[in-house]
Symmetry: C2
DNA sequence: CCACACGGCGACAACGTTGTCAAGTGGTCG
DNA sequence: CGACCACTTGACAACGTTGTCGCCGTGTGG
């Protein structure tokens, strides 16, 4: 159907000629402006159809100074959490007629800077959503008057930030362990590079303190220089004089490694709650209880916020907290082996008495596909 | 450091003024052209530094007719396979100074068309990589002279296509079942909408034929109208008069569903091979043997092909086959329950004798993270 | 000493689109 | 009947960059 005259792509001029109007009128039709006679509009639309005309984004954004794409910078698309997040953004962007430019920072501050500048200054995107790496992004300041920016997953002062309640969710989870009589609760995979994980860490510490349980550094596994052998670390924690009886896995990757380690040694008696859901969590026995951090919710919140910022500059940037859910699947409800001292209030065997918001829907299909 | 004069973003003119040269000279420096005096170049570079100048992509691509981004259209980023594929593309693109525009088709032909046209005609991308949905994309023809196009995952005549050897890999897997004495081999989740799955289906059929085994339609699970209840379907296959003893899962999603179903009923005796790896395949017991279809390899091959096409138009488009590996993890090496008739050659219990290329590295961390 | 080549650089147009402004037409009101 | 208004349309400049062409000055060979 579309016929390209000569070898050039059809431009607004070709449409204008074909419809017998001026290019300005074509522009008006394309942009759905009011003041066009219905009959003229029909002629123009017909010409557009016939020629297969598509407006040139480059020229448009050159003229207007800001283009029809939004930029997204995340750690890496290879992480299904971020992939799902971008997917949510892309879906919503489509309904606004916006395209999505993705770039990854690979957790490198220099690359983050390069990518952000390329998007904001080079591509003149209509907005940016990014998962911050460096503590500050001062180089964005000159552009922020024109380009709205939203931070996701990790909070940044000065930016509207979409995050989950790391602290609160962790408190809930660890408190559940305490309520079940656990006194040796491991924090599996602390990584000081991530502020989110540090917030989870302080939730953990606060619950211990409030419960009157001593803090034992031996119960904390740390990622040093970006690496931690989950398997041997799990073995270590279980081989302590007073071994860990409950594990709080601070992120999904650690949770997967931990689950694998426990399964290799057939330990089905250790309690575990993971921060972040993962695909097989409800397949293994016992099912792995997870704090569900829904990437689609986060992505949606981020783009909605960005679109709102495009409309009106809005006031002070603030944090927007996306709710989490504690998916009870079994592993989080395992009670401590022996009541030891007389400590906690409740200490049954079945599902926990205390905390934990309801939240059913354990069987959402998410994660792996294909 | 960067100082924006007034409120405008610095343009080539500002740099030129600051360095005391003409805009053309700045352009020459930015584009690393030869004919510039070293000293002048230094002055210009310094001015660029000071002003924080970043070339405007829109103007550039308007002038040159083709921009600094490549377009990628895939089913959805929520699918970790495609997410990883895009990640590989993005990584390589970065080294070429290209950005990546992602768009999803959601397996809808109309949306595919819209997205592709937006990328090719609207954004004037430097190239397109897409996972084809509709049988044909004739609307791309007018642009193909200017914009190279590569198909991934699913083959399309007329386009360079990057695919895996669906047929061959399936033959290998099913043959392994036959060698182990299985006579009731299920094809789990046929979906006629996907040509890749149809190719796997014909591999399945051919092995049966060559082995002299009858084809039983009852052993084929079909996705109808896009849905299939994996759990009840698995139950059905296991409850047949002559139940299935081996499962070929035609895709990772089905494999996950199937694995979950088998685990719920504690069936550890059924053989299974999945087309497509998934994160927990080596955690469950028995480990799920998989045909590994590496998204990074595929993505890399696709972008390399695209970059090559940019250099030279090249001759006839062809199919490029990316190798797969059969990861032996246990479930694929389970022999048939009773030797039944005297059929196959080998029929031991331990790892298969026949087919299956070596392929170690079962423990690659892929899939879920975070 | 002159013609010419060449390295280095700048003026200007053009890419496709939209904003500004003005012009044309027909109708309405005083 | 004339002035004014609403509505529709078009001419033109401008967005920031690069390609074309030509200019200038210096050196080189005849």
């Amino acid at each position: 159907m579309p016929k390209i005259s000569g070898s050039r792509r059809p431009g607004i001029k070709d449409v204008a000629a074909s419809a017998g109007v001026s290019i300005k009128t074509v522009s008006r039709v394309v942009n759905a402006e009011e003041a066009v006679h219905p009959e003229t509009r029909a002629r123009v639309l017909h010409a557009i159809q016939v020629l297969g005309y598509v407006p040139n984004t480059a020229a448009r954004s050159l003229k207007s100074g800001t283009g029809g794409a939004i930029g997204v910078v995340i750690d890496t698309l290879a992480d299904p959490f971020f992939a799902a997040l971008v997917s949510a953004i892309e879906t919503r962007a489509l309904t606004e007629g916006l395209s999505v430019l993705v770039a990854s920072s690979n957790l490198d501050a220099a690359q983050e800077r390069e990518q952000l500048l390329s998007l904001v200054a080079g591509h003149q995107v209509a907005g940016v959503i990014f998962a911050p790496v460096a503590p500050e992004q001062p180089y964005l300041d000159p552009y922020r008057a024109v380009t709205p920016v939203v931070a996701v997953d990790r909070s940044r002062a000065g930016y509207d930030s979409i995050v989950v309640d790391d602290y609160g969710a962790t408190v809930l989870a660890v408190q559940q362990f305490v309520d079940l009589g656990h006194e040796r609760i491991a924090f599996f995979d602390r990584d000081e590079r991530f502020s989110t994980i540090e917030r989870r860490m302080s939730g953990y510490l606060d619950v211990l303190r409030d419960a009157g349980l001593p803090f034992d550094p031996e119960l904390v596994s740390e990622t040093i220089d970006g690496s931690l052998d989950y398997r041997s670390e799990a073995d270590r924690l279980l081989a302590l004089d007073r071994p860990a009886t409950a594990f709080f896995a601070s992120n999904a990757k650690a949770a997967i490694g931990l689950t694998a380690a426990l399964h290799r040694t057939h330990r089905q008696d250790t309690a575990m709650i993971a921060f972040g859901d993962f695909s097989f969590a409800d397949v293994v026995r016992p099912g792995v209880s997870c704090i569900d951090q829904d990437p689609f919710l986060i992505g949606n919140a981020a783009i909605e916020r960005l679109l709102a910022l495009r409309e009106s500059p809005s006031g002070e940037p603030r944090e927007w907290i996306v709710p989490t859910a504690l998916l009870q699947r079994g592993s989080g409800e395992i009670a401590a082996p022996l009541p030891a001292r007389a400590t906690a209030s409740a200490s049954g065997a079945a599902p926990a008495s205390g905390a934990a918001p309801a939240s059913a829907s354990t069987t959402t299909t998410r994660g792996d596909a294909r």
